[in-house]
Symmetry: C2
Subunit: 213 residues, 2 copies
Amino acid sequence: MGSSERKERQKVELQQQILSAAKEIVSRDGFAALTMRKIADAIEYAPGTIYLYFENRDEIAKQLCRQGYRELLECLKPTAAILDPRARLRAMAGAYVQFGSSNSATYRLIFMEDPKFTDAALSAVPIPQGGGYANDSSNGAGIQAFQLLVAVFDALKANRSLRADADSTRLAEIFWTSLHGIVSLKLTCSSFLATTSEELVTSATDLFLAGLE
Amino acid sequence: MGSSERKERQKVELQQQILSAAKEIVSRDGFAALTMRKIADAIEYAPGTIYLYFENRDEIAKQLCRQGYRELLECLKPTAAILDPRARLRAMAGAYVQFGSSNSATYRLIFMEDPKFTDAALSAVPIPQGGGYANDSSNGAGIQAFQLLVAVFDALKANRSLRADADSTRLAEIFWTSLHGIVSLKLTCSSFLATTSEELVTSATDLFLAGLE
DNA sequence: GTCTATAGGCTGATAGAC
DNA sequence: GTCTATCAGCCTATAGAC
């Protein structure tokens, strides 16, 4: 059945093309401007054709979210290799804020838009339908990214820099919310904050580490 | 000119009615669902009539934002009276997060939606047109709220709990971003965070204060 | 598989009657 | 000042021709 395999490849290929066009529209005009017609125009197909590859607009948005989490994870991974936990936390925080600033549309989509998309993509999920996204490492990428942060606090414990009975998950959540606050407020209230993102994340991380002592 | 004054009063009255209807729609269905037609239905007027009281939809959104900042300010004001700066910071942080959780639609609108509305309402502005909103204390309410937070750090300095050369504005920005992170992430990623808002804000504030030492 | 065409809905905003 | 009617546009999704 080599012919059916070819068809499968072609299907995945056009799905990727659709997602790629969708991503560009979101980056350029924002998520609200993502319409089936615009995608169709971009890939030079008729609007109806897209429905052969995705059930509806929401399904495209969810896939876009999953991809966004994957990108975030890839962005944080290099910092996870840093041995010194304090240096690692600083690097990871910097990478996170950098990611949010450089990929603002993606960041908005995965963390500031609709819980419907955020939650669906954040949690680990099986294949939605059609089985088209089988060998997809994106499942749970958001959770994996969060685990990288949790691991920093485990490392701090191993280091005796943190009480052994401290709750790593909880500390990771507190730290994450503060990073998210910096990125998201900068995206919406850019003109009000006098401090740059870089200064904010540096100071916030230093204060946080100082508070842990 | 008693008759023209009556007309002015009636105009303001209907403007208030429009804003009030708009607020309810946003609270119930979200900002994207705010349409002129729905407002018109709610106040039992024809859609076109609204344009006699507001230039367009954006103008309504901006007024809604200004009102939101005013509400936030009112919510924080009582805590500003607390003398001990540490207790004041804790109370203010709690009130802020409480406000965001209880008024999620308003919070989304003023801090998570469109910079166009956020910035316009956050900064102090003169009367937009028509002079209808003259005796309006909402101008700069967002800034006033932020100043309440800055004052806490000034108080900590006066208290010798903080170095005299510390930058109060900067510390306020860092602290504010962390509060905003808690509220906004809870609004979008509610199911992912294991910790409650109340626990997050308590721990974050304690860590922050500890870091300041 | 892809097209055209369209159903059936929504939107902001305006013109002109009363 | 308020109405009705409507313009001009957008949207998702589907049906049926090829």
